[in-house]
Amino acid sequence: MIAHSIFFYTFSFIAIISAVMVTVSKNTVHSVFFLILDFISISCLFIMIGAEFLGMIMLIVYVGAVAVLFLFVVMMLNVAQQRNQWFASESSSKHIPVGLIISTLIFVELIIVIGGWKYKPDLFDINNSSQLAKVSNTHSLGQVLYTDYIHVFQISGMILLVAMIGAIVLTFRKREGVKTQSYISQISRERSDGVSVLKVESKKGVKIDD
């Protein structure tokens, strides 16, 4: 038990400190790295309470893919310099109330959602839990997710799909005059398309049309 609590306090300490450092650190790239550290320590906490599937998925999705793209964008933008200008300028005071309103709205929504959430009663049934303990984490998640919560699961999947398509549509623009290479046409090029053998008469030359 002592080892367990040592690990628990270590990971939670790292998680909280890095979460604070995300907002405090001056360099934006550093804050993304602290965010990654936060994700990793939270997934360690998930593993410690026995939710190994959730912990691993957290690592794969957030650390392995989402945070990489975060880092990608932040590194390209040179945000550290821009932020200093932004704080000095007048426009920052206009944006701060809007940001506050939006974040308050999201916070209230979260409270409403979590407060009104109803869990399936037999998940907390003590007689049932001994039976659940035999099944592995992944199996039990699948059994709940694909039976009782199938509609919620499918709807959230659809929302994500719509968001993805929306993002593509919003950023997609057809540009004129872009030179692209089609490797199918490159590979399927024959000798006869490019080379022709001509008979050249002496002192007259040939005229090549192109």
Binding site: A3, V29, F53, L59, I60, G64, L71, N137, Y183
Partner: protein
């Protein structure tokens, strides 16, 4: 005292795993260079030790004694952290690789997810190194590799789903045991091919070595590194390649199982079979490096997103419907 005993026991086990892995990484670098040389009708490293076997160790010694140069305009903490991250991630993944039914350091329920997670974290070493160097070529290499590794991870993930549909468990030992009658390379051969090519891209091997393309980017993210830190990048990369080979061997070639369950084959212990399969896959990696020219960047992206991802997704649907229709879905 009790905890101390457990601690020493674990440390002993970890050392017994990591020292052979590091030694085999050194040997495998030599093998890679030899195969490369033989394809090009050269001799390759053949001077240091018998057949040149100690060449890598000599190289590593040279790197250790060289001066470490840290660029003055670099971000020093992240610059130093990057090779450490690469090396650590390449080594911690070996914890879940089963060498036989009992010889595995951590026999966890979600072994394959752990492997996948660790291999997808591998991109951080490269991004951190490229960004912290504060120089154009390393940064270009880092950006390229971030896009490349994220793209090919997707198809590797979908291929893993294919195998998991046939197994019904995320445990690596269960995956191996499920192949007792038929290795998955036979029913899932197209997936094996895609897995192999994606593994090449995931480990930044030729023909997908765009992050370190020496012709365009000097050496990509490794340009500013020197001495021990360069050696750590280099060894971490090869440890990662071995790891992907082990993953391929476990997912498709039956892991530590012998090819046939008959007398002369069953005498050979499981770990040796696993090592032989890893070496076979590594030989393929080395041959590909020698015979295939580098891809162009847009071709790489097209291959990942427009060919491999749809193909492996279609194969998931196909596998699932086949298993469902013939009532072969694994139920436990």
């Amino acid at each position: 005292m009790e905890y101390l005993g457990i601690l020493f026991d674990q440390v002993y086990k970890i050392l017994f795993l990591l020292v052979p892995v590091l030694l085999s990484v050194a040997m495998v670098v030599w093998l890679d260079r030899r195969v490369w040389a033989f394809v090009q009708k050269r001799k390759g490293p053949n001077v240091v030790g018998p057949f040149g076997l100690l060449q890598t160790i000599a190289d590593a010694l040279k790197y250790i004694f060289k001066e470490i140069i840290i660029p003055s305009s670099s971000n020093k903490v992240i610059f130093i952290l990057a090779p450490i991250v690469t090396m650590t991630l390449a080594l911690i993944a070996w914890a879940v690789i089963p060498f036989s039914a009992t010889q595995v350091l951590a026999d966890i329920n979600v072994g394959i997810l752990y492997l996948f997670a660790v291999s997808s974290l591998g991109v951080y070493g490269i991004i951190m190194g490229g960004w912290a160097s504060n120089s154009k070529y390393p940064f270009l290499g880092a950006i390229r590799s971030a896009a490349q590794m994220v793209s090919y991870e997707v198809s590797i993930g979908v291929i893993i789903i294919n195998v998991l549909l046939c197994v019904g468990s995320l445990n690596l030992n269960d995956i191996v045991i499920a192949q007792q009658n038929l290795w998955f390379i036979i029913p899932l051969f197209p997936m094996f091919v895609i897995f192999f090519i994606s593994a090449l891209a995931e480990t930044n091997r030729p023909p997908f070595d765009l992050p370190e393309a020496e012709a365009e980017l000097v050496a990509g993210y490794q340009t500013e590194y020197s001495g021990m830190m360069y050696a750590m990048f280099w060894l971490g990369e090869y440890a990662n390649i071995l790891l992907m080979c082990a993953m391929g061997a476990i997912l498709f070639l039956g892991g530590w199982l012998s090819p046939l369950e008959i007398y002369p084959f069953t005498l050979v212990p499981g770990p040796i079979w696993l090592v032989l399969k890893i070496l076979l896959l590594f030989l393929l990696f080395a041959l590909v490096k020698a015979i295939v020219p580098r891809y162009r960047y847009d071709q790489l992206m097209k291959l990942g997103w427009k060919v491999f991802l749809p193909l492996s997704l279609i194969w998931v649907v196909f596998t699932a419907s086949y298993l469902f229709y013939f009532n072969l879905l694994p139920v436990n």
